[in-house]
Amino acid sequence: MPTPFKKTPHPKERRLVFQNVDREGWSEDIGCYMENGGYEELRKALTMERTAIVNEVKASGLRGRGGAGFPCGVKWGFIKLDEPKPVYLICNADESEPGTFKDRYILHQDPHQLLEGMIISSFALGVHLAYIYIRGEFPTGAKILETAIAEARAKNFLGKNILGSGFDLEIYVHRGAGAYICGEETGLIESLEGKRAYPRIKPPYFPAVLGLYQCPTIVNNVETLCNIKHIVRMGGAEYAKIGKPNNTGTRVLCVSGDVREPGYFELEVGAVTMGELIYDLCGGMKPGRKLKAVIPGGSSAKVLRAGEKYKIKTKQPDGSTGEKEIGIEDIVMDFDSLAAVGSMAGSGGVIVMDDSRDMLWTLNNINEFYAHESCGQCTPCREGSLWMKKITERMLLGGGVERDPAVLKNVADNIAGRTICAFGEACAWPTQSFVAKFKEEFDSRAGKPVPPPMPPEYLPEELIGKEEAHA
């Protein structure tokens, strides 16, 4: 019997949201989706009370898959049942966090799952206009979504009086223009309104209160919205049995870097440890190489160092809490455990680095990204992100001075917690963690007691050329 998957899911996987990804004989058209039971949950949801659906989502314990891990039901609870203003739903398909590549597979291979999740969510939240904000670098994904929307409308899953329920909904696809900050939900909303994606200050602009066009708006990640369909199918309580308490459901982890078999794995949250993920699911480190570091939740998550010991709280059999020391391999891959070791589950992008990696180079690479992507709106992030990049770049080129590691840390400290949006933390955490955890590597590249002479910015001839061009 031929395997139903092009790439067989690992036995430890539990495929819910990715159940159709890479399936043999699967296609993204609505026919295939419906033959496999598609849109049945929508039919079911349309017979339910709106609050009942919201309550199922609350009961499911589903936490956002976009990065922050905020409880989805709590977020939805901010929307009043009798809200007089229009309520909007936005699917965040901007997937731009380096190391993250899960949403694109859903968009490319299973667009109807997302649409079904969005239609159910819209029904529950009283939304009649929903948007999918897709990153500009996903042109194919955008086309696939457009086709899927047309198919769904032809079948009256979208449009007026959906399946005779009296519920109306339109979904529009909006393509970004290639900026990471458009993934930040309030930046996304500004962008959708046709402006620069400058994140808004919170308070007062909490999306659920003053979102798109100053109306209540729910922004959810692609994977989060797909889960809604499964919650409606199973019921919230049943869904909550998957994974662990406060870390329910499944989660797609995207592993990249120096493992033999990188890829995506949909796992019950907390089903594996870091060690199992790397050595069992990903086939271990490349030949002859040793694990050096892991960034566990997208490039902005704080780096974890191999060999480091982490103190975590454990529940003793008698109910009291004790403390245990664990190594990096023993960290459970769930929201709370990764937070407990000082990092985060973030966007699910696990970046593995072996002993051939230069941590200064790596941090500089990350710093380059954030310096390039800072929207530039608020002072600490705008100026600090480029400053950090300039320091690591100078150090890489051999110009590191003794105080550089300390300055790097202090610059990062002056950004984190002081900015408009969480990009501030996103760009500060890598620097804070790399410099602290690989101190010797940074110190050894910061040997000069005095700053080296700066390379000339312009040669004299160039300056003369500039003068003439100005005249």
Partner: protein, 532 residues
């Protein structure tokens, strides 16, 4: 109106009360703890982008009964938020705690100051803003002595004509977006924006657009640094040399309140001054720049009789003789709506002493807008009406002059309003600049411009406002009220007054709407009159 609800707020350990709706940053300033800021402007929306106003904030700790827990002093115990908060975008709330000077708040300010300076060009020695620059001021108060920045600074365009009157130095810009918000929210001409990203972000006008609004120079005023400069004022004078005189703009009937910046009898700039009853904190470019004529090379500063320079006594005597040389019904006065009340009142007095009944002002109606610029370009139409100088006789006067029925004409501060003067026996003019009228004048008397004298005017909304003297009139030119007083004296032989305060007193006694007022009682913000 009921009194606003008062809220208890703890600022740096002391409990104070503020009306509901007070912005935290304003409450702190009122309590004597000024919080530095770049992006916040009380008349614009708050984007919270500069992060200079970060402070420590807390809310009352709630007990199990959902009521605030009280401390030994009977006041709420405050739960301090571990992250710093901006103070420019939130209103005070009951029981809120604020620390503007805690180590956290100080550390935040130092950090932001450093970030703002690392890529700043530090052009202070050649920067027009120096001396009134928030970056300079806050660096002194909150910055570090030295720099830790070893890298090359970001380079940006340094001399961009973003509009006909505004020059941008993008390197000095702290990206506070005040200019963008002003253009969008006040003149509602959304012409400015940011281009590029991160530390390379730069202010620019939208493609194919210019910052050419008649309100563009307000962006220069609110720009906290020397990024936007007035092309007119650029490199002309260091601001600390400027003498500041509170006055108002006389280029239209709105009368925006101003500060005249002058040095050594030269006006260098006019900037708006806050008056929420008149102009908020703005003024239009046209009015702001309409002072260069004071220093025009063509300015007439010597009295003249038949085109020949004359001494003042002779010129006054000659003018008085001309005014009496024909019967009163063959004399007319064309006055101006840009004369002060005091001048208008003396004009009226001159007319009555001479029994002249034909007098009027020249209307100047042009296009106005919905913001400040009034279609009436006379600053004191209301005063001319109140004091009875304006009438509806201008057409009659014109016709009389052209037909030869009127043989002597006195023109005060106006051109001949297109009237053919050929048949006049004699023409007496008072003014600043050469015109068709001054050219034909039998007697010309040079007078003072708005910055060169004191006096009052009444704006389009009936607000009595006061001009203060910033500079001396040039050469032999004299204050208009003195010229008029001398003319009255010369035609009537009566003793005149010797101080403008006295003129105002007499005028106020004779004019019910001005009863009880004096020049000094008008104050810097003017007085609303009850006019019918």
């Amino acid at each position: 109106m009921s009194a606003p609800q008062m809220l208890n707020v703890q600022i740096n350990g002391e409990w104070k009360q503020f009306p509901k709706g007070t912005r935290v940053i304003e409450a702190c300033a009122q309590a004597g703890s000024y919080i530095p800021r770049y992006c916040y402007h009380p008349k614009l929306t708050s984007p919270g982008n500069c992060r200079m106003c970060l402070i420590e904030m807390g809310m009352p700790k709630m007990g199990p009964d959902r009521k605030p827990e009280l401390g030994p002093d009977g006041r709420p115990v405050i739960n301090w938020i571990p992250r710093p908060q901006i103070s420019c975008a939130q209103d005070v709330a009951e029981g809120m705690g604020i620390r503007t000077d805690s180590p956290m708040a100080q550390e935040c300010r130092r950090g932001v100051m450093e970030f703002l300076l690392i890529n700043h060009p530090l052009d202070c020695p050649i920067c027009d803003q120096a001396g009134e620059c928030k970056l300079q001021e806050f660096s002194v108060e909150y910055g570090n002595g030295g720099s830790r920045f070893l890298e090359h600074k970001v380079k940006k365009p340094k001399k961009v004509a973003v509009g006909p009157r505004v020059t941008l130095d993008a390197e000095r810009c702290v990206l506070c977006s005040r200019c963008i918000r002003f253009m969008k929210e006040v003149p509602q001409d959304d012409v400015l924006g940011f281009v590029d990203r991160g530390s390379y972000s730069t202010i620019a006008a939208h493609p194919n657009r210019q910052l050419d609004s008649n309100y563009s120079l307000n962006t220069v005023d609110i720009c906290p640094v020397g990024a936007l400069t007035s092309t007119d004022f650029r490199f002309k004078m260091r601001v600390w040399f400027l003498k500041e005189t509170k006055s108002f703009c006389t280029s239209c009937a709105t009368g925006c309140n101003t500060v005249i910046g002058s040095r050594q009898e030269v006006v260098y700039r006019q900037t708006p001054r806050e008056n929420n009853e008149v102009n908020s904190v703005w003024m239009c470019d046209y009015g702001r720049l309409n002072f260069h004529y004071l220093h025009s090379e063509r300015r007439l500063s010597r009295p003249a009789v038949k085109g020949e320079a004359a001494a003042w006594p002779a010129a006054i005597a000659k003018a008085a003789a001309e005014l009496r040389s024909v019967p009163a019904n063959e004399v007319a006065i064309i006055a101006s709506g840009s004369m002060t009340n005091e001048e208008l009142w003396l004009t009226k007095k001159l007319a009555s002493v001479l029994n002249i009944t034909l007098h009027d002002i020249v209307p100047h109606i042009e296009k106005g807008d919905d913001l400040l610029l009034s279609a009436d370009r006379n600053p004191n139409t209301a005063g001319a009406k109140l004091l009875g100088v304006s009438s509806s006789k201008l057409a009659e006067i014109a016709q009389g002059v052209e037909s030869g029925r009127i043989r002597v004409l006195l023109v005060l501060g106006e051109d001949a309003a297109g009237i053919s003067l050929a048949k006049l026996k004699s023409l007496v003019t008072v003014g600043l600049l050469p015109s068709a009228a001054t050219e034909k004048a039998s007697v010309f008397l040079p007078s003072a411009g708005f910055a060169e004298k004191r006096g009052s005017m009444i704006n389009v909304k009936g607000r009595l406002q006061r001009l203060n003297q910033a500079i001396q009139p040039p050469g032999e030119a004299r204050d208009d009220w003195e010229i008029l007083r001398d003319l009255i004296q010369a035609v009537s032989g009566a003793n005149g007054v010797y101080a403008i305060e006295e003129v105002f007193r007499q005028m106020a006694e004779a004019t019910p709407a001005l009863a009880g007022l004096s020049l000094s009682k008008i104050g810097d913000l003017g007085v609303q009159l009850k006019l019918e």
